[in-house]
Amino acid sequence: MADLSINFAGIKSPNPFWLASAPPSNSGFQVHKAFEAGWGGAVWKTVGPPVLNVSNRYGAWHYGGQRMLGINNVELISDRPLEVNLREIREIKRAWPDRAVIVSAMVESKPEAWYEIVRQIEDTGADGIELNYGCPHGMSERGMGSAVGQVPEYCEQITSWVKNAASIPVIVKLTPNITNIVYPARAAVAAGADGISLINTINSITAVDLDSFEIQPSIGGKGGHGGYAGPAVKPIALNMLSAVATDPTVAASGIPISGMGGITTWRDGAEFLLLGAGSLQVCTAAMHYGFRIVEDMCDGLSRWLDSKGLNSIEDVKGKSLNRVSDFKDFDLSFAAVARISEEKCIKCDLCYVACNDTAHQCIDLVSSDGAVVLPHSYSSRENGKDEAVGSRPQPVVREEDCVGCRLCYNVCPVVDCISMVEVPQKRSSTTWYEITQHQPEVTENWEAMNKYREEKGIEIH
């Protein structure tokens, strides 16, 4: 079995799955239970100044009968007294010396406030500190959380204060509510942070009640933006992770990155690792199903590593980063077409309508005698399952017209039914960047572009 243990900026944990700083890590009771279930670490719910919470706190996005594809919250940092949190952190660390216990913190933007909280946290024996620069609601109105995370200079300043005071590793948690997440990441590096974690929650309004017209969740008739998390944010998190991990400044520093944002299964976790994450934080999935989910996260990840001949998390970390590129560097001559497996196809014709209505009209319905037929071509007197099933045409891709958009592949409900097949290139490889360098006129006026297409045999239909 592959070794799942990690050493993240000097913080050791038996597996890469940590509870993110959030409601699941709000108390000693919870973290103790999570460690019993097998979690490798926990980032304690943010400690800091006194707060008061509201109800209702959580909104969610449900879709197609599936619950909580995304959750948002207007819950604040820990509302339990600081000394209670610190006492429980100390107890947990003593009971679980092999697990990573990191404490998230957020205090007023004054050096003495940060020095004091660092001292208090270090005194518990915790393994590290995570600086919460991400909370998008409530705390930001008080000049903390994302109010810091959105200004790289503030990030750097506060991180420097903390680094001056701290002897344990300092992780800077970034907000996604910013135009370019790379800037605050560089600020963290410049201030000497030991690690970066991302993403915090995204500004959101999840729903409006169609009967009361109230924003959901409704807090006495009012609602507002809250931090969005869960499966729905994973693609955004992966993009931000790859942007930070491939940034030359960040990469050169060698700073480790703790990835989070929608990690629900080991598969999600593996993708974060491939894009450079060195530890994985989870909140929503635990809030949906409880701490037990970590069992398959570890089991599945370990078996997958074995199947790939990889021995450790370090072996897989960042393995896909060399694939991260930009449009200008893509090979414009690479060609793939969709192919439908007639054996697996159940003839739902979702590929047909998607292609025909919204893509490139290159899927035909072919009857058993090979003729291309139109949909709805049966008579009003024909009926019965045998007739309906027996006469149903087969969707077939007209490969010469397929642009390889991959829409049909994405809508097909059957596993491995539609595949995107690489076909021989019709011209030599080139990129948009190369064209801008060698034939800039092609990128600037349509006449030159048309001529270029004619020369290269590029047909747009």
Partner: protein, 436 residues
């Protein structure tokens, strides 16, 4: 409906879907394009459209989508052999469970009924008066479609209650009569007038109808069971009458220690179910061919076996044994199957000397219905005994159309086929009158 299900042995077999069940099931539908379920439905209800409306909580819109293609959507959702039609064609057939289309349709129709609405788009393009003879599914469908177009429609029904077989002839556990009667009430909201006690050939003359109306649609249905031609036949109960009693006059349903049901079609299954569920000790279905040839749907055969009903295949009744006016047995003779007949079923022939007696004390026959007997006297041409109609459901008489079981000389007769006949005939009548 749930209470009835719990307390009445003949109460509706399937409980209504809960809102939660309907939501989960409607979300499971793939929303196929040019969906095979829609193709398989004789009335071509846009199944994915009404199902997706359930998933968005647009239940009245869902009922409207159903009614657009089938005004008897509530009846059809209950009585359709969905395994042979929409659900049988569902693309989720093999690796998954097909979508329970029938129950979702019932959910949407029930929702509209609870809201007291019958969402149908009306128009006033049609001008004229139409007479429909027979208030069964074909007649009601035709009447409703024509009323939708703006025609003044009168349905003339010989029985006390409208609804035809939906009211009288389909076992309550599949369709309570209240559903059929509610549908008629909804159609009357569209302007359809229903007059009961009007029988063609008695209180009604076809010639008069032709004179007073712009078109006549005959939805006569079929007659009683044919005679078996065996001694003691007068002691055999008629299957459709047996079902009718169970729906309308429950206290008059006769039960026995051991009941024989002759025939193996859907009505025979219904009779056997009634006899068994209302308390007969044993029920035996007697059929001259085998389970491979029986006309009951496979799912009904499975159902009745699970009810504990027994079968005697390759057995033909030859005599009802009667003592002191009471049935004491049914003598049968064993059969063997030979060459195939015109309906491609093997012809059974008697094995002489193989007589045996079933010790039954009640005999019910459900061996199909006689063909429409009025045809000759009304001057209507027939085809294999059924009314002869062209592609437009028009008979040989001017302005007289016909549809439903009375014209069904090919294929299996079913409620939904009758509904489609009525719909297509209405379109043909409209076309004819507009172009006249």
């Amino acid at each position: 409906m749930t209470d009835a299900f719990l307390t009445d042995p003949l109460g509706e077999l399937l409980p209504p879907l809960t809102t939660q069940e309907a939501l989960v099931e409607s979300n499971r539908c793939l929303n196929c394009y040019d969906a095979p379920c829609t193709h398989a439905c004789p009335t071509h209800i846009d199944v994915p459209r009404f199902i997706k409306k359930i998933s968005t909580g647009n239940l009245i819109g869902s009922a409207a989508a159903i009614l657009e293609s089938n005004l008897l959507g509530a009846t059809c959702s209950r009585v359709c052999p969905v395994q042979e039609l929409c659900e049988g064609a569902c693309v989720l057939q093999h690796e998954h469970r097909p979508i329970t289309i029938g129950r979702l349709q019932r959910f949407a129709m029930d929702a509209a009924a609870s809201a007291g609405v019958f969402p149908v788009k009306m128009s006033s393009v049609g001008k004229g008066k139409i007479a429909v003879v027979g208030a069964g599914p074909a007649g009601l469908s035709c009447a409703g479609e024509l009323a939708k177009l703006g025609y003044e429609v009168t349905v003339l029904e010989k029985r006390d209650l409208p609804g035809g077989l939906s009211t009288y002839g389909i076992i309550t556990l599949r369709e309570p009569k209240e559903i059929a009667l509610y549908e008629v009430e909804m159609l009357s909201r569209l302007g359809v007038k229903v007059e009961s006690g009007r029988e063609l050939g008695c209180s009604l003359s076809l010639t008069e109808l032709q004179k007073s109306y712009d078109a006549v649609f005959l939805a006569l249905g079929l007659e009683a069971s044919p005679n078996l031609g065996i001694p003691g036949e007068e002691h055999i109960l008629d299957g459709l009458d047996y079902v009718e009693r169970s729906k309308i006059r429950r206290s008059e349903v006769e039960l026995g220690n051991h009941v024989a049901v002759i025939g193996a079609g859907n009505t025979a299954i219904d009779c056997a179910t009634i006899a068994k569920r209302l308390g007969s000790n044993r029920v035996t279905v007697v059929y001259r061919r085998t389970d491979k040839e029986m006309t009951a749907y496979p799912h009904e055969y499975e159902f009745i076996k699970a009810e504990g009903v027994e079968f005697r295949f390759l057995s033909q009744p030859s005599r009802v044994l009667v003592e002191a006016g009471k049935v004491t047995g049914l003598e049968c003779v064993l059969m063997q199957l030979g060459a195939r007949d015109s309906s491609d079923r093997p012809i059974p022939t008697r094995i002489s000397g193989s007589e045996f007696v079933l010790d039954v004390d009640l005999v019910v026959k459900a061996i199909g219905q006689e063909k429409p007997s009025l045809a000759k006297s009304l001057g209507l041409e027939t085809e294999r005994g059924y009314l002869k109609v062209n592609e437009d459901f028009q008979t040989n008489l001017p302005g007289v159309f016909a549809g439903g079981d009375c014209v069904r000389h090919r294929g299996a007769a079913s409620t939904v086929m009758a509904v489609q006949d009525g719909k297509l005939a209405a379109a043909a009548i409209h076309k004819k009158l507009v172009n006249a």
